[in-house]
């Protein structure tokens, strides 16, 4: 009872303070929104302070730990080299990872193309679009790695589970992106074509896809980039082959930080190339659009 009272009192005190304009000076009207934000920030800072003071460090010396970490970073980034992994091997492994990304993007893209058509509001009845859209949103809400692990139950941990899981997530991502691109085409244009006797497939292939091709391409490539990153993670986490697996072995198994550094640089190089191509494609699209 006592505690309840004190809490109540405290709450009153707080709200009194909140309402008095002196504390916030500026004279900005205190609406509900900013009030909520203030309460939220205050709670967060209190929690942070509480956590800092009560954390169990288990004898870790923060200063020393920071220094060690920096030292490791130095090894990784300043002295990349390799003993076990030849440069060509590494290159080949990256190709495998790229292959994984390509395959999953391709599968995902083809399936998403059809699902995208069926979930575009100007092309399909409302009931179907709603169904597919919510189904796909559900898939997208669960991270790729979880899907891979779910499929690993059936397919075993390895490249098969990785391909299926990544394809699954790619489908949901691309379906949303594609259907939104398709919806750019005005419903009235579709009406005009069907009034001239064209059927659904003809309209899709002669009007809808040509006019959204640029978007489709850029979304697909964007997904390819994401899948490349995913493929590295899957190599490490799900035992799908490729450079990710080497990274995992070098870091977690051999503790070879120099090799981790080298692999990081190789991946970085490929990522930059992909990014450059993507940027180039996007600027092309903007010119066209």
């Amino acid at each position: 009872m006592e505690t309840e009272e004190t809490i109540n009192n405290w709450g009153q005190l707080c709200s009194d303070e909140m309402i008095s304009p002196d504390i916030f000076g500026s004279g900005r009207p205190l609406n509900r929104e900013s009030f909520t934000i203030r309460i939220f920030l205050m709670t967060l800072s209190l929690l942070t302070l509480y956590a800092l003071f009560t954390m169990d460090y288990q004898g870790v010396d923060i200063a020393k730990a920071t220094m060690d970490t920096l030292h490791n970073f130095k090894i990784i980034f300043m002295e990349p080299s390799t003993q076990r992994l030849g440069l060509w091997d590494a290159f080949y492994e990256v190709l495998i990872t790229l292959g994984l990304a390509f395959l999953t993007t391709l599968f995902g893209g083809v399936i998403a193309l059809f699902l995208g058509l069926l979930s575009a509001q100007n092309l399909a009845p409302r009931r179907i679009t709603c169904c597919i859209k919510s189904f796909v949103a559900f898939i997208r809400a669960i991270p790729t790695i979880l899907w891979v692990l779910i499929f690993a139950v059936a397919a075993g941990l390895g490249s098969a589970a990785a391909v299926i899981g990544m394809t699954f997530h790619s489908i949901s991502y691309l379906t949303k992106a594609y259907s939104e691109s398709f919806e750019e085409l005005d419903r009235n244009v579709i009406e005009a074509l069907s009034a001239s006797g064209a059927n659904w497939w003809q309209i899709v292939f002669q009007a809808v896809i040509p006019s959204s091709a640029a978007y489709l391409l850029s979304w697909t490539f964007m997904r390819f980039e994401i899948n490349f990153a995913n493929a590295i993670a899957m190599g490490a986490a799900a035992g799908a082959a490729g450079i990710g697996f080497d990274l995992f072995m070098a870091g977690g198994y051999y503790f070879d930080l120099k090799e981790v550094g080298l692999i990081t640089y190789i991946v970085l190089a490929f990522a930059i190339v992909l990014e450059m191509i993507a940027t180039h494609m996007k600027s092309n699209i903007h010119q066209k659009a």
């Binding site: 244009v189 069907s194 006797g197 059927n199 899709v204 009007a207 040509p210």
Partner: protein, 268 residues
Amino acid sequence: MTPETSNPLLELKNVIKYYNRTTPALADISFSIMDGQFISIIGPSGSGKSTLLRCINRMIEVSSGEVCFDGVITSQLKKRDLRKLRTKIGMIFQHYNLVDRLTVIENVLHGRLGYKSTMAGVLGRYSQEEKMQAHRIINILGLHDQVYQRCDQLSGGQKQRVGIARALVQNPRMILCDEPISSLDPNSSKIIMDLLRSISREMGITFIVNLHQVNVALKYSDRIIGVNKGKLVLDGSPDQLTTERISDIYGSTAKDLMTDSEERYAAG
């Protein structure tokens, strides 16, 4: 053109259309149209002009009544025959409804899709003849300099001419126009209306044109049909259309509307 000129090209019998249960968008409309006529439909906004037009090529299904085109009752047609019917009826729109990202020639060729098998249409296989015809029509409409331009680079009047070309390449018996000049300035409006009129005369194509501008209707049509609240309130030649009849159709707003459209047209 056809030997039996006594048979109407299009006949509507007691057409009724309900969008909801309460008020009909079209209430018992009947009329028939001879081959080669140029007909305007006028009426206030929301009176059912667009609905009426779309019931003719079954873009909208009628609730009851019959639409008879060239001796065929349209409501009985199956999918394939409906496509065949639609190839015979071109359509032109207020907002042109072209695929903006495609070129003029690609848009015009879309008018041929109705004649093709699904596969040939999907792959975009157009015969040499079809391409030549498309180019010929584009030339007639004065778009030869824009053939390979994307449609979003064209002016409104040019876009509407592409729309007309797309309808013409269908070799239609009849062309339906839903407010073809409502998005155009007076000058291009005049060009487009002159064009439609001369196409009607020279190619013997029947036109049904929804219009908001009464004086345009008076100037160009052989016959004017007036609708109000889904009912047919007028059907006659332009010289039968007096100011009183117009106010019957448009109600109290008639005066504003007349002056408004006169100003609009005087500028052109």
